[in-house]
């Protein structure tokens, strides 16, 4: 069994975010990391691999991003994944979800996969659309937002927690699966894992390797375009209610109602 996990390298949310002159997110000049939500996808893949009785299951991590994005692969390998594939090409810059999913789908096809695992959303773009687009492009079932996954041969059963109900869904491989932050507890890389990762193979591939023309991806091909951005205004001082005559609670409720919180 082969499991391909799509992992995204995202700017560290605790560091300052920057934008480029073309209104794209600066993914090069900032501190980046493996998207935290993708750690759940990696962990789920490792659990499926380790529970596989054939013993020949393997986990390949796939990322698309600038050279630094290799760090996302490395962290996944340190957690225990077997090998990595890095789509890296200058032409990728500015790709939207349509372009991103095209490249990821081509790379998955090139690998061949029984299960493609994704996070529930990236922590930067957070559109949650890549898994669905990938499934569509690959022509396989999509099972998204799984909070619990069981694999039994070719059958994958998931629990999907909704606001109103909990669904149990079954699908057969090959498929695309995305998992939530409720699905497992991602492991921390051990020293053994960190040392082992040094020896694991990471393949770098370009658009040419995937047979994709530069014009089909990148900023020019994007269906969406960021026209402008503005920094979040600094937090204002807020309102302080002093309870002088016993009406403080009413004033609080009025404030919340005015802000449409209640």
């Amino acid at each position: 069994m082969k499991i391909v996990v799509c992992v995204k390298y995202v700017p560290d949310a605790t560091a300052d975010r920057k934008f480029n002159a073309d209104n794209t997110v600066d993914r090069v000049g900032v501190q980046g990391m493996l998207s935290e939500l993708d750690e759940y996808a990696v962990e789920e893949a490792l659990k499926i691999r380790d529970g596989d009785e054939s013993g020949d299951a393997q986990v390949v991590v796939l990322t698309m991003g600038p050279a630094d994005a290799r760090a996302a692969i490395l962290k996944s390998l340190q957690m225990g994944a077997d090998s990595g594939v890095h789509i890296v090409d200058d032409a990728i810059h500015g790709s939207d979800s349509v372009g991103s999913s095209l490249l990821l789908a081509k790379a998955v096809e090139r690998q061949g996969a029984d299960i493609v695992l994704c996070g529930m959303a990236s922590t930067d773009g957070s559109m949650s659309v890549i898994p669905a687009m990938l499934a569509e492009r690959l022509g396989v079932p999509q099972v998204t937002f799984a909070s619990e996954v069981t694999v039994d041969g070719n059958t994958v059963r998931v629990r999907r927690d909704g606001d109103a109900a909990t669904e149990v869904i079954e699908a057969s491989t090959p498929l695309v699966l995305s998992v939530t932050d409720q699905s497992n507890e991602p492991r921390y890389p051990s020293f053994k894992g960190i040392m082992a990762a040094k020896k694991k193979p990471v393949e770098e591939i370009t658009l040419a390797d995937l047979g994709v023309a530069a014009g089909d991806v990148g900023l020019e091909a994007a269906w969406t375009k960021v026209e402008a951005y503005a920094e979040r205004p600094p937090r204002s001082a807020g309102a302080i209610v002093t309870d002088e005559d016993g009406t403080g609670a009413n004033q609080l409720v009025e404030f919340l109602a005015a802000q449409k919180f209640v």
Binding site: Y188, P189, F191, M195
Partner: protein, 390 residues
Amino acid sequence: MNFVLSPEHEAFRASVREFAEAEIAPHATEWDRKHHFPVDVVRKMGALGLFGLAAPEEFGGAGEDGDFTSLCVAIEEIGRVDQSMGITLEAAVGLGINPILTYGTDEQKQTWLPDLVAGSALAGFGLTEPGAGSDAGATATKAELVDGQWRINGSKQFITNSGSDITSLVTVTARTGQREDGRAEVSTLIIPSGTAGFVVEPAYDKLGWHASDTHPLTFTDVLVPESNLLGARGRGFAQFLAILDDGRVAIAALAVGCIQACLDLSVQYAGERTTFKVPIGAKQGVAFQIADLQVMAEAARVLTYKAAALKDAGRPMAEFKQAAAIAKLYATEAAVTATRIATQVFGGYGFMEEYPVARFYRDAKVLEIGEGTSEVQRMLIARGLGLPVE
């Protein structure tokens, strides 16, 4: 010469820090207040491989990949958020696993190490007695060989990890006879938890390290098989001296974590707390003290990792021993000073248990005492210099 850790050690530091921030830091204050020893966290540290960093793969350790340096990194990072869990790790490896790994027979290793390395069991090391601390050779606990069994009588005190729910054994030093020169023959014995006559007395009420498990132990006609002798008979004294050399560097790493915590907490607080309309960090009187904290953190770190590197490089024992004593002495005394400075930076809040600096202040003192007091370190260093010190 190389003064930086490898990228792998740095990646491991990041991993342990993430673990410590998520699994330990949020609970440290409560465990301290309740004197609670969190067994589940010990298991999680085991899952992360922290107990096996210097153990062979056959017992579940990191094998060739692991080293003493990585253990120091782990102790420093755990100690940065919680000294109690830091000492738990330090003692579990340095005093629990190390004697068995170093002196155990294949059978003893097979029996005890897998669970200890996995973090599903802990071992204590009983050297100190009411009448034998710095003067550990004054051991009064006795063991006699009777019909193929050791019969042990005596007591130990201040023994870390000796009475937790998952403690599987303690190794103890005991007099097993007299040497030709008239001095006591001291040997080391393995006493499994639950052996009849082996009583773990109630935990101490300590100044600090509240979440660490420390007990007095008594032995009344405790019987263990002859094969529970650890290492050669009569080598007990030499064995624990060697064990303590490693332990000293590990305690120094714990002290580095303490100093780093003081530094991090002070930098943050001095930027936030305002007096006379400016952050207190704008006052040289405060800022300069915090600058000193970084000097202490860096100096202690360099001494500690130098000693660890000497061990990993297999350098001569005399060189390592000296470096270990120097690192322990400087790092632990700096840690006590650092906690005094940090509580001062926090003003009245530093005296409140709500703030972690108060906990570090209480926790630091014992660093100058355990695994050889500062006076003992000075004695060792002076002897290493060839001085005729008593």
